[in-house]
């Protein structure tokens, strides 16, 4: 199955792309997908502890089982609004 993976801010700069289409086996969990992405982009690994994960625009736990066409986002700590 194919999963759309999106990157923002500093993560986008590390990966060099806003989004990737990720090929995955059925039953893959979010944690397994993130492990795969971090293995491909080791510079992201140092950010794992503060990384927020979302599936289809909602925050999701790492045990979430992914489905064909899901949109996964790797989100750095947010900083909207004003300082």
């Amino acid at each position: 199955m194919r999963i759309q993976v999106r990157f923002f801010a500093g993560y986008r700069e590390i990966v060099g792309s806003r989004a990737l289409s990720w090929s995955a086996r059925e039953g893959l969990t979010l944690e397994e997908l993130v492990d795969g992405v971090l293995a491909k982009y080791p510079r992201l690994a140092g950010h794992r502890a503060t990384m927020l994960l979302a599936v289809n625009h909602s925050v999701a736990g790492s045990d979430r089982v992914l489905r064909e066409g899901d949109e996964v986002a790797l989100l750095p700590p947010v900083s909207g609004g004003v300082r």
Binding site: R6, F8, A9, G10, L52, A54, H57, S58, A73, L75, P76, P77, V78, S79, G80, G81, V82, R83
Partner: protein
């Protein structure tokens, strides 16, 4: 009104969007880009579908938590120069106390959970610096 926009925020329109006959108080919070040394603007990056969903959920939670009548959140996307408004939150309630409280709470939540990131745009002699 929930809006994420590149164009400047029309504050009067934001206030008008929450007006109701049963609300005796409207609080408007405006966040502006502050002049810090070497900074001439902020670039805002937004995960728009998730941010829109988050804003709508915050409005509903604020209504439940504070009993306010109406709330609007408008946030800028892209480059906002020093002195420009980056966010506006308007809140209408029967009395002022809950509108002040709800506005402050929502702004804290926007900074905590809504997927928006900003980068400082430096003057010519300085380099851009990502915030957090």
């Amino acid at each position: 009104m929930i809006d994420i926009r590149r164009a400047r925020i029309n504050l009067e329109a934001v206030v008008d969007s929450v007006r109701r006959d049963d609300a005796g108080a409207i609080v408007l919070f405006v966040g502006s880009v502050r002049s810090d040394e070497g900074v001439r603007a902020l670039d805002y990056e937004v995960y728009r579908p998730m941010a829109t969903k988050s804003f709508a959920a915050l409005v509903e939670r604020a209504k439940e938590k504070f009993g306010i009548r109406e709330m609007s959140i408008v946030h800028r996307l892209g480059r906002v120069a020093v002195g420009g408004d980056s966010v506006a939150i308007a809140c209408a309630s029967v009395h002022r106390a809950e509108a002040f409280a709800a506005c402050a709470w929502v702004m804290d939540e926007v900074k905590r959970i809504v997927p928006i990131w900003k980068t400082e745009v430096a003057g010519r002699k300085d380099r851009a610096r990502r915030l957090r």
